[in-house]
Symmetry: C2
Subunit: 361 residues, 2 copies
């Protein structure tokens, strides 16, 4: 394993990140530019995976042939390709990058390809960590003073209560290593603030999480979170199934976009208001930057044998560089080992195991 | 039945609306004021249900004793009371109002009490229409040029695919009668734009709705809707289960509130920006009014033997009056009969019945 190999060398080498050069609306040009930026500005160790004939000239144009090795991959996943197609293509750039991770030649994968395709392809090729039932996709909401992590954002549409308990651990590990939150507070997304509210899945998961956090105080479970609290920063990690999580995240995105657009229209609806808008240009620009997907690096697929960061499909160079930096931080913090440890402790807790058997309805 | 009775008289009398005078954060004062307004400004026929000793002096102060009869109810549901407590209290103002509907003395109920309490109390007392499996709570999103109706917003947390098909009919009837949308377009809330995406429930419901709208062209089913399209006005009715619907609606509410607050902060962050904000005061005020719950009347519980409109708990007089107007329009449009007809046609379609049997997994 590469982590064991790096541990032998003083000082430890930085983990290698495999970058899918062919994924994304602006691939390969913006991906290559982002990778070059990540190497030069942040000193990361990257390999580009994709068609050599396309990538080599682009690297040459940037004078970066020596800084960035290319690993050839014949094919790429189209942005519209679904999970099944992604799963089949063994020679896609995502599949080849997963192979590098399996061989220990890379610790993480960054792709701006279609979320469904990257999730399907990397799940089947990297497989889940021992004991982890399903991977979860974690996304970051731009709350202040610190971000809120929501998972699962869509990797597993039909979940079981035990999976949600595991997602709590995956999310807590990500909050610690990816966002420097020492003791992440975890909540479950449901439809009522009191215990016992919600649908069957949320009620059961909440019960398991309460029992579990009594036994394993490493998990700071704070109970129920409602939709209107997603941006209120009440907890650091919000756990839910992939269907509800995806609907909630897209509802938030849509509503924030809608509100901005409505306010923009209102602010320029009269000549006086337009003068006002001119005076506020700088303040509004700062706000927009916080909601810009290029600034927070992308979604992370957690629970696999290797770290997978999925940058926004429309990412430009800066977004790709941020995603590489996030992948590096997670790999350097050994998130995979951390998750392995916390999910291993799950199956050791006797009453947890007992309850796990009961909940399989 | 009051509808048969009114049909005998030329011209037909307006339906009577029973108003729960004791429900809401500002009850009974603002409810009484709203009811008086509804009678005087819109010519509605109302009865107030609640403690006579409290209500009579308030009506006297408004000089409205003759315009608004009181039906006495000893008890009221507290805003924090859950479904179970609501269900038990046979002498609450909501329970007494339901009794008026059952006796044919009122056609609809308006309450600003706690949603959970009113839903539980009226569901058990009015019961679902023949063939309707569960009631659904419909809420209006302030899209332009016409509103979007989302249901179920939380009445039934664990739903079956067949219920979602019924919700489509309930929502379409509400769109036609409550919002004057002649041929409402219906979509299902899920997590992908292509058919076959989503969790098991949404996939199966989507399949049933497609098959069903081929057979019953009265339902214009337009397929999948994602979270970010909730405010885009792509369809007039968005169907989902009560858990997902409640999470989505609260996520939208929270995100719009968050965006407004952030923009307000950005607009007043520098002296120049503050001058700009002054110039825009009027434009922003107009926008805020569109998102004000007092302007759209409240949620409607559909599928029961009687119309139930649940105004926002924080409603003031204007909000209560709007809710009364909505209840009147729905009752006058005989929404209950319309729903009875459309759900009766459901069970007549042979292949629909066939599929219904299969889907019970």
């Amino acid at each position: 394993m590469s982590s064991a190999a790096t541990a032998r060398r003083p000082p430890p080498q930085r983990p290698v990140i495999a970058v899918d050069a062919m994924g994304g609306d602006n691939a390969p040009r913006e991906v290559v530019a982002g990778a070059v930026r990540a190497v030069r500005e942040h000193g990361l160790r990257l390999v580009l995976v994709g068609r050599t004939s396309e990538l080599a000239p682009m690297l040459a144009a940037e004078g970066a042939n020596r800084e960035l090795p290319i690993v050839h991959a014949d094919e790429s996943l189209a942005m519209h390709e679904g999970a099944l197609a992604a799963w089949r293509r063994a020679r896609s750039s995502v599949a080849v990058a997963c192979k590098l991770i399996r061989q220990g030649d890379a610790a993480a994968l960054v792709s701006a390809g279609s979320t469904g395709g990257v999730v399907a392809s990397s799940t089947v090729r990297l497989r889940t960590l021992p004991g982890v039932l399903r991977p979860a996709l974690a996304l970051v909401l731009p709350t202040v003073p610190r971000p809120t992590i929501l998972l699962d954002a869509g990797a597993s549409a039909d979940a079981k209560p035990e999976m949600l308990v595991q997602f709590a651990h995956l999310g807590a590990a990500y909050a610690r290593i990816g966002h420097g939150i020492a003791e992440p507070r975890v909540g479950i997304l449901t439809i009522g603030s009191e215990p016992g509210k919600g649908n069957k899945l949320a009620r059961k998961a909440s019960e398991l999480l309460s029992a579990h956090s009594d036994e394993a105080p490493s998990l700071d479970f704070r109970g129920n979170i409602e939709g209107h609290d997603l941006l209120a920063g009440l907890v650091d990690v919000v756990v839910t199934d992939g269907f509800t999580g995806n609907v909630a995240l897209k509802s938030v995105e849509g509503a924030v976009g809608f509100a901005f657009e409505e306010i923009r229209a209102a602010l320029t609806s009269t000549p006086l208001a337009r003068i006002g808008a001119l005076l506020q240009r700088k303040a509004l620009r700062g706000l927009r930057a916080r909601f810009d997907s290029d600034s927070y690096g992308g979604a992370v697929l957690l629970g696999l044998n290797g770290t997978v960061v999925i940058a926004h499909g429309a990412s430009h160079a800066r977004g790709v560089a941020q995603a590489c930096l996030l992948a590096h931080d997670l790999a350097a913090g050994r998130i995979t080992d951390q998750i392995r440890r916390s999910t291993a402790s799950l199956s050791r807790a006797p009453s947890w195991l007992h309850r796990l058997g009961q909940s399989d309805e």
